[in-house]
Structures are given as C-alpha cells and as structure tokens.
Symmetry: C2
Subunit: 448 residues, 2 copies
C-alpha cells in the first residue's frame, strides 16, 4: 500500500480570509468580481499540486458591507469559468439544499463535471442564516428540518446522477441509435419534499457522482456527513478538539457500511506566513490593526446569532448558551473559545477576525508544516482546508514555501497522478445504482 499522503484544498474568498484583508496594502479589493483574479488563484493552486479549490456561499448579503469587501460571484458560475482555464485542480462549489431544487443542482454539477473532465465537487450546506430565507419568501426552517430536507435532497440528486448508466450512450450513427433507452431510467421519486420523475437531461458525468463535501459540525451535521460526505470541512481550534471530531466522524461510518478511508477530514487552517517568525507576526499585527470592531460584531451576530453592541466590547462574552437554530457547531466553537481563554468580546473578535473560528497559525513555512504534520500524524486530519489571510499573496506563499517543505517530508504529492477530483482525493468512482437492475423496472418511457 502506498504511504498515506496529505490532501490540500485552497479555500478561496475574495482578497483573503482575514476580515481586514481588503484594507491591507498587499491586496486589491477591486478584484473580488474579476475573473482574472480567480484564474490566477486557481493557477497558483494548480502549480502547487493542490487537490482542489473551494468557494463558500451564502444566499443573502450577510455581514456588514460598510466595512468589508463582500459580494463575490456565485460559486458554480465562477468555477465553470475556471474549469476552462485549468487542467487538474478540483472545483468545489457550495450549494444549499434548503433553497434549491434537486433537479437543478444535479444537472449543474453534472454539467460542471462534464465541462471540467471530472473535477466537480459539491459542498452541501443547509444555510444557517436568517436573511437567506427572506430572499425566498419563507422563514428559516428549523435546524433539524433543514437536515431532513438535505437528506431527501441528496437521495434525489444521486438518483438523477445514476439515471443514465455509464454505457447508455451508443452513438451508433449508421444504425441511428444514439442511446439505449433501457439504460436511461426514470427515477420516479415521490417523497416528503420532492417529486421528481427524471431522468436527468445529461449523461452520466466523468466522476459518476461529483465529489460530495460537507461542512456542518452539529450532531445532525456530523451524522449527515457520516452517511453521505466524502470530504468534510471543519473548524477546530485545538489538536484535542480535532482528534475528538476526527474519531467521532470516522467512528460513525461503519453504521452506514463505509470504511474510514472513504471520508477525508479537512480542518481549516489560516496560515500567516513569513520568512521569519517575526515577519509572520508583523503581518498578523498589520491585519489586526486594520480590524473594525463594528464589522466583527455584525459578523458575530450573523455567524452565531449572538447580538452585541460596541458597549459590550470590553466585557466578557455574556452567558448566551450554545443553542441556536442557526449554525450550531460554529456557535459552540465561539462560546467555548471565549470561555476557555477568558477573552473579552474585543479579544474574541480579534481571534475570529483571521478565520471566523478556524485556526490561525502564524510562523515560518517550517512551523506551518510542523503544525500540519502534527495534526496529520496524530489522528486529527487527513489534510487541510487552506485559508490564506490575504489573496493572492497568501496562497502563493503557501504554495511556494510550505508545499515544498511538505513535499520534502514526503507528505505531499510532487505531481498529479490522476485527472479527476476523486483521483486527487484517492476516492473511488461510484457505480450507477441502476446498473445491476437494468432494463425492465426503471426504464424510461419515451414517446414514440
């Protein structure tokens, strides 16, 4: 068996993950809607042999736009553009199951998978924000209801992806037979949330199923991940929390007949890189000095449902509890961080400014690599979700200085060995569920 190696995903966000990145002299906030910026980022990631790039998403203008460069393009649109100008890098888009229809989502990801030659991935989210619901004429459904809908949604989407068997397309020009309709199946789904006859209107895509990624760490979220996800993004502040999450998730897989290596766990890390430790700390300090407290308060409110004002900045975090119908795991993380370290609200906002709850590590390339190796070799990670504080520079620094260090240590690939996102992550291509029962029962009724 080949030695276990790291997986690295570049989490791309505007001009950087630090909330003050747009104010830093090394960024240009005019680039947040410019495809050339994202193309450059994808090319840097590909130069570093990373597994994939990823865009988060929300369906409302969330956060305080007065004080941050918000309003980036819709991820699927942007990744389709990047598909045309890259070759190896995986393309992971966030799409909500709460405010979409499974037919559209199945089709768009199958299209992206075709267009990219098998590099599409879907970060499945249930949309924790209240403002999102108000752009779709409803109130935010309860947390449990969102995950129930997500489960049925996944069922429909994967059936649609399977609805054309791999060998359904014949292309028999002389015989006039384009496809074997016995291998294209109506799915006839009729459930609590969706009624979808199918089949999909595009053939089975190179990966069979675009890669399924998940990013919610509540109890419902972890259970959903154990059942469906092939890669999991998570925010973990300490090695112990990371180990606990990792063991918890991997331990739940057997229940669904899955093996531990079928799910790749990727905690977030925001690396603040300097050629010396002092240089790294200087960059961290420069960013910290650009923070606007009003923005952090709005962000805290939107992300965790904890609503505070400027008067609260120098006191401790009030005892607000961890329950919420919003993003449960993020609220828990924030409350526990403040308690554990006895932070004032202002200090807490400083800690969240770098990565919204993800771990921030400032140091030399070697120090960053040490942290990555530590988690990777001690049961806390199969790889990392890399969240550069400033873009493109932070990604270029990671690729040019940390990646070579990881390669020297034998922890990371030096060349791509496959062509698909699944191959990058070492994950199998699923068979169509209809392939075995072909013919009779499910076959498509075509008008004749």
């Amino acid at each position: 068996m080949s030695p276990r190696t790291l997986h690295l995903n570049a989490f791309l966000m505007g001009v950087g993950h630090h909330e003050a990145a747009w104010r830093h002299p090394r960024t240009d906030p005019a680039l947040i809607t410019d495809v050339r910026h994202y193309r450059r980022l994808a090319e840097i990631a590909e130069r570093g042999r990373l597994d994939s790039v990823f865009f988060a998403d929300g369906l409302a203008l969330q956060g305080d736009v007065r004080h941050n460069a918000l309003g980036t393009p819709e991820p699927l649109t942007l990744l389709a553009a990047l598909a045309a100008v890259t070759e190896h890098i995986g393309l992971i888009a966030t799409v909500s199951t709460t405010y979409n229809e499974p037919f559209h989502v199945a089709r768009k990801f199958a299209s992206l998978d075709h267009i990219s030659g098998g590099r599409a991935g879907w970060n499945i989210v249930t949309s924790a924000g209240e403002a999102e619901a108000h752009n779709f004429g409803i109130e935010r459904p309860a947390h449990a209801a969102r995950y129930q809908r997500a489960t049925e949604f996944l069922d429909v989407v994967t059936k649609l992806w399977d609805s054309w068997e791999d060998d359904a397309v014949l292309r028999d020009r002389n015989g006039g037979r384009y496809a074997d309709s016995g291998k294209i199946h109506a799915i006839r789904h009729a459930g609590d949330h969706f009624g979808v006859t199918g089949p999909l209107n595009i053939s089975r895509s190179p990966q069979g199923h675009p890669l399924l990624v998940q990013a919610g760490s509540s109890q419902d979220g972890i259970e959903f991940a154990a059942r469906h996800a092939e890669a999991v993004f998570t925010a973990q502040q300490t090695l112990e929390d990371g180990q606990e999450f990792y063991a918890d998730l991997k331990g739940r897989l057997a229940r669904y007949g899955r093996r531990p290596e079928q799910v790749v766990v990727l905690p977030g890390i925001s690396p603040i890189i300097g050629s010396t430790e002092r240089e790294a700390l200087r960059l961290e300090k420069e960013l910290e000095d650009l923070i606007i407290p009003a923005y952090g308060l709005a962000q805290l409110s939107q992300m965790t449902g904890i609503h505070l004002g400027e008067d609260d900045l120098d006191g401790p975090l009030p005892d607000v509890g961890v329950e919420t119908e919003g993003a449960q795991s993020r609220r828990r993380l924030v409350v526990e961080l403040a308690r554990r370290e006895g932070l004032t609200v202002r200090q807490l906002l400083g800690r969240l400014a770098g990565g919204r709850g993800h771990r921030v590590v400032a140091g030399t390339p070697e120090q960053i690599a040490d942290q990555i190796q530590l988690w990777f070799e001690n049961g806390a990670a199969d790889g990392f979700n890399i969240m550069p504080p400033i873009l493109p520079d932070g990604l270029a620094d990671f690729v040019d200085h940390v990646v070579p260090e990881l390669q020297v240590r034998g922890l990371f690939r030096t060349e791509y060995t496959g062509r698909t996102l699944r191959e990058n992550y070492g994950l199998d291509r699923p068979a169509s569920r209809f392939a075995a029962t072909s013919g009779e029962r499910h076959d498509l009724v075509v008008a004749s």
Copy 2:
C-alpha cells in the same frame, strides 16, 4: 446617425440544428458534452464578429434520446466557461421563470455579467413542456399563469439588479469604508408569487441589467416581449409572416413608453451553405436521408402537443386545432405550415427536421445573404438567429463565406466597436431605479 446594421446571434445546439446532424459524417456527436467543442464554436463566432452566442434550454430530457444526441450541459454553466476564453462575444443563456427563484437567477446572471466584463444575456422562457413540471413536483401551470409568474419574476430580478447603485462601492481602504450602505437597497418585494427582501449579494454588474431576450410568440408572449424584452427570437416561415410579427411587436412598444429601436427582432434561419447551389442541396439531401421518422413524431409531440404514430405518416395532418397550454406560437406555426402547403405528416416532419419550425434556406453564400438582406430591408428583421444545420462546420461556413458577403454589402460590422453585449446590439445601459430616490426610504438595514 449611423446607418442601420444587422445583428447576428449564433444559436448553438449540440452538433447542429438538423435533427439528423449527429449522424452526418461531418459531425462528431461525442462532442456534445465537451467544452472544447463549444469553445471552438464561440471562437468561430467571435472571429465572425457576431453579436452573441445563445443556448436554448429545457428542464427535462425532451424528445426521443434513442434517435438524437440529446443531453447538453446546462447553459449558464457552459457560458461561464466560455466567458473565460472569449473577449467580445455576447453570452445568452436560457433560464425558465416557471421553475426557478428570482434571487438565484438575478445573482447568476449578475455573476456572469461581472465575469464576462458585461457580456451576459438572459433568454427568458416560461417552459412549455409537461415533462419539465414533473421534475419539480407539480403539474404544468396554465399558459396564462406562466406568463403572470414571469412578469412578477422580471420585476423582482430587475429590482435586485438595481439594488446596488453604480457608485455604492467606495473601496476606501484608509477610512475603512468598503461600501455606502445608503446606496445598497433592500427591495422588500412581497407579491403573489415571491417574497424577496434583498439586496442582491453582488454589486451592480457592468451592463446594469444583463440583456433581456425573449422567445415566445403567443399573444401573451408578444405582450411580455413588448414590455420587457430588448431582443426577441422568433420562428417565421415567410416574409409576410415575418413582417406581420415585426410590425405587431414594434407597434406594441409605445404602450410601455418604449421606442422601436429599443427592441431587436431576430427571426431564426438555418442556412444550409454550399459553394454552389447544387452543393447546398446535396448537403440538405444528405441530412434528409438520415432522418428517423420516429424521432420526428416524438419531437412533434413534445413541441406542439400533437401526438401521432407511424401509421399517420402518409396522411395529412389531422385537424387538431391550434389551442394548447404548451407552446402556442409553435403549434400555430406548424399547423399553418402543413395546411398552407398541403403537406403529409411525413413531409411536415421533413420540413421541421432542419429547424423545428424555423426557416431553412439552402444555397450559396450570396443566396443566403440575399435572403438576410431582403428581410432586413423589408421590415421583417433587425438581424437573425443563425441556426447552423451541422456544427462546427455550418457555423464556420457562415462566418467565412456569408459574413464577408454581408460586410461587403455594408450590412454588418467588420470590427467590434464596444466591449459589452449591449454595445454589440446598440442598446443603452439602464440606470438603477433606486439612484434617484437614494438614501432614506429604501436603504439597507445593516446589523451594527
């Protein structure tokens, strides 16, 4: 004033518009999901200085996949990929108002408009097919109801596009002010079909509004076009029908305070090109010989709701009437064509095979140019929707032989003069409706 010049849109569809194109030796049906094929088509269109490329769309596997190369990528995804590798050509995607949410649609087109530097266009359709409804858990809404929803849908989408004024983004790094929230407006739409608070989560796009295109020619459809559309695709078989449609549509504009030159009328034409007339007719005959009647019958059924069998092929079209809850204008066109020319069903299918009801013209480049000029100069067209029978060859032949002929006649541009799709079509950029009433009433409430 500059002389009136033609507008040309390349209507791209798989390996060609002729239903037997996939069987012809000059095509390769394996390309229908290959982004390189579409890239090549876009590059050819751009080489010919065409205004735009366009993809139609349906939300179900419609037609008989046993006998045609169906299953092309979702248009917005595909056009986003083409945005990254083209510079001037407009990118028009079909999206249904019946099975979508306005927030998603507004956002995706604004994203495509940003990514392409102002080249996005939306072909607004109401989805006439019954199978489409069944992929969204409902029965097909009635024709009038679909257009009512479309009207409210447009209202919401354009409000969202206007929700950020053009000068809302400040990017004041020193002052820490990214945007002026007084120029970003909640839209607070509460209507019969939609409740959308807004604002959009992306800034106003280069064109202000991506170009609005429309393609239904029923009474409801024409009225909708008169009110909203800036370009109109239409299927017209004869010069007289074309003139009547043109006059009808242009005549309705005043009612909405619009001028005739604010809407570009583009009838479809499928040019079968040969260097001699005989060569053109030979290509037409080759394609005709590859037709599969079962496919034409399924297509007729799907497109017009007229359900016939192989036994009906050699009789006249039964008296089925023109009423339908499906695509009214297409049904009318087909029934009238059969009656006017006294066609058998088989002959009718032959006539529809080339362009599904659009006009097919076989001839030399000069003959094709003559037809284009005739309609253009006689009140039937402002330009054409070019539907090559086979792709890429049919488009290359048009660009390399018909376009130069049109240029020599002074009817078509020899260079692009603008950068946006609106500039290609000579249409103004709309102002944000909120720009005048700025401030107080509509301003965004940001958490503080």
